[in-house]
């Protein structure tokens, strides 16, 4: 399926999902779906650098927080429409990905991973000390009262935005994956030295992947302040984002765009259930254990099983 046809299908499905909102009786669904879709975007974004190119990013929370806090900043400064906030946050996070990537992707993947951990802590320290966006005390974000398209609750607007952004992220991921750039990234993942000697501009592709990945992770965070109405650093830099953005692609399968989607839908839904019935700490513990179990026993994830099964049938 060509890039444009996939995009058409993706957005058509997104449109249909949004149009079906009035049929949902329970408002809790929108809240839960918002969170799960957030994870879909994060997992898909992470996988562009982690799964396609093989460079592990432990600082997803940093990029997510950049998206969230750029929205907070804009809200306080100029109060622009939501779409402006989304675009700005995405661009800001993308620039961060570009900068960090350019500085650290020229070294071994291990050092890049450690640098991303460092990034999350440094950014957290900055945000905590930045009073304009609330610092450690946090910031209040009021949802607008006038809603477009005659919708009654703001959560519906956020939900719709999230569905569209998810479709966008999936389209971007698949386009990269199935293009020459995606092949180049795969070559880098398999054997970076051999890729470089085959003519692949490894640094450029890695930096590109890091920028796109960062941008999309930031995009996932841009509507978060409106969702919470009150943003403080530990919410934006939540550990759950760091571990989930790795666990979900790992469990779903890191080789293609379907894996993170699958992993996020499955794991995200499970977490919603556990969080409500047990506790958020147990929830995180389960995710951590699943991560370790899968990485040791089933590193290619669910889609890896599917591919192996398909190959055995041939």
């Amino acid at each position: 399926m060509s890039h444009s046809r996939f995009a058409l299908v993706a957005f058509a499905v997104a449109g249909a999902i949004i149009a079906a909102s009035p049929l949902v009786p329970n408002d809790y669904y929108f809240s839960a779906a918002y969170t799960v879709l957030q994870f879909v975007i994060l997992a898909t974004a992470w996988n562009i650098l982690g799964g396609y190119a093989g460079y592990v990013n432990f600082g997803s929370a940093a990029f997510f927080a950049v998206g969230a806090y750029s929205s907070v900043f804009l809200y306080k400064w100029a109060h622009p429409p939501l779409i402006v906030m989304i675009v700005s946050g995405t661009v800001a996070a993308g620039l961060l990905g570009l900068a960090v990537g350019y500085l650290t992707l020229r070294m071994r993947g291990v050092f890049f991973a450690i640098a991303t951990l460092a990034l999350a802590v440094v950014l957290y320290t900055f945000v905590v000390n930045w009073d304009y966006v609330g610092g450690a005390r946090g910031a209040y974000i009021l949802q607008p009262r006038d809603l477009p398209f005659g919708l009654t609750r703001y959560i519906h607007v956020l939900y719709a935005a999230m569905v569209l952004m998810t479709a966008f992220a999936l389209v971007i991921a698949r386009t990269i994956e199935t293009s020459a750039i995606g092949r180049g990234l795969a070559a880098i993942r398999d054997d970076e030295l051999a890729a470089e000697c085959a003519g692949v501009p490894t640094l450029r592709l890695k930096v590109l992947a890091a920028s796109v990945s960062g941008a999309l992770m930031g995009m996932a965070g841009t509507t978060f302040p409106y969702y919470l109405s009150y943003v403080e650093p530990s919410a934006a830099f939540n550990l759950s984002y760091a571990v989930n953005s790795i666990a979900m692609p790992l469990i779903g399968g890191m080789m293609s765009w379907i894996g993170p989607l699958l992993g996020a839908l499955l794991l995200g839904t499970v977490q919603q259930v556990v969080q409500v019935t047990v506790s958020s700490e147990w929830n995180l513990l389960i995710v951590g254990v699943l991560l370790v179990v899968f990485v040791t026993l089933a590193p290619n994830g669910i889609m890896g099983w599917v591919d192996a099964w398909k190959r055995r049938k041939k």
Partner: protein, 258 residues
């Protein structure tokens, strides 16, 4: 005896030195390769052959000296750019892209390794084009030449030794180089397998591709080379007509080859 160089050499290595801490791996090495020439590079293990290859290919930076391709200094160019400029190398121990099939392995140098804006003028950065279709014909042609077309969809990680060596060379060839460096492609292969690889390398002549063959399999080197250079302990001690070089006393002493 060196051939008179009427044409600008394709590759000109002048005074290249490479040190690793206190150890000098290459000591002011000079080497020239004419367009289309078949050069054999021999020497005992540890004499610096692979280091020289790495310096020419760009995976190592030489500490001193110049490396010129078609008269242009490529010493500062990153390795991938040197591939575009026409230098391609295979690895001593094959490094296939293990998550990919044989044909997908070849798509990489076809898409990324050829001089930008070549033949059909579509850049790999163009997201709109479908790289799959474009590269298939070219890849299959190369696979047929080397005898791997039947295994085009096999996973590259599961190939036999000799097939992996062939794929390794095929990948280097697919980048359409002006200079191909084959680093010990025949090590440990049987006589008929060696002939297979030799045939492949001889085929480069028709393409006008110069070849530097680094080998220990002496009969292959003698058969293949128009000229032989000898490296010992980082220094070039001989360079010229194969028969003459091999008979040189210091070559015989330093390199008690096969």
């Amino acid at each position: 005896m060196e051939k008179a160089q009427e044409v600008t050499p394709l590759l000109q290595v002048t005074g290249v030195t490479k040190r690793f801490g206190g150890f000098t791996a290459l000591d002011a090495v000079d080497l020239a390769v004419a367009p289309g020439e078949r050069l054999g590079l021999i020497g005992p293990n540890g004499s610096g052959k692979s280091t020289l290859v790495n310096c020419i290919a760009g995976t190592l930076r030489n500490d001193a000296g110049r490396i010129e391709l078609n008269g242009r200094d490529i010493g500062r160019e990153p390795a991938f750019r040197r591939v575009h400029l026409g230098v391609s190398r295979s690895f001593q121990i094959p490094r296939p892209f293990k998550s990919m099939s044989v044909i997908d392995n070849l798509r990489i140098p076809i898409l990324w390794g050829q001089t930008p804006n070549s033949a059909d003028g579509v850049s790999p950065w163009n997201l709109g084009s479908d790289p799959g279709l474009r590269a298939t014909d070219e890849a299959m042609k190369i696979l047929e030449e080397i005898g791997l077309s039947a295994k085009c969809d096999a996973m590259s990680g599961g190939l036999t030794q000799v097939d992996m060596r062939k794929l390794e060379l095929a990948r280097a060839i697919a980048a359409k180089p002006a200079l191909l460096i084959a680093d010990e492609a025949m090590a440990g292969l049987s006589a008929s397998e060696v002939d297979d690889i030799l045939r492949l390398l001889f085929g480069m002549k028709e393409r006008g591709v110069a070849v530097i063959m680094i080998e220990h399999v002496m009969r292959a080197v003698m058969k293949f080379s128009e000229r032989i250079a000898v490296l010992v302990a980082g220094r070039k001690i001989a360079d010229g007509d194969p028969q003459a070089v091999v008979a040189q006393p210091d070559v015989v002493t330093a390199y008690l080859g096969q």
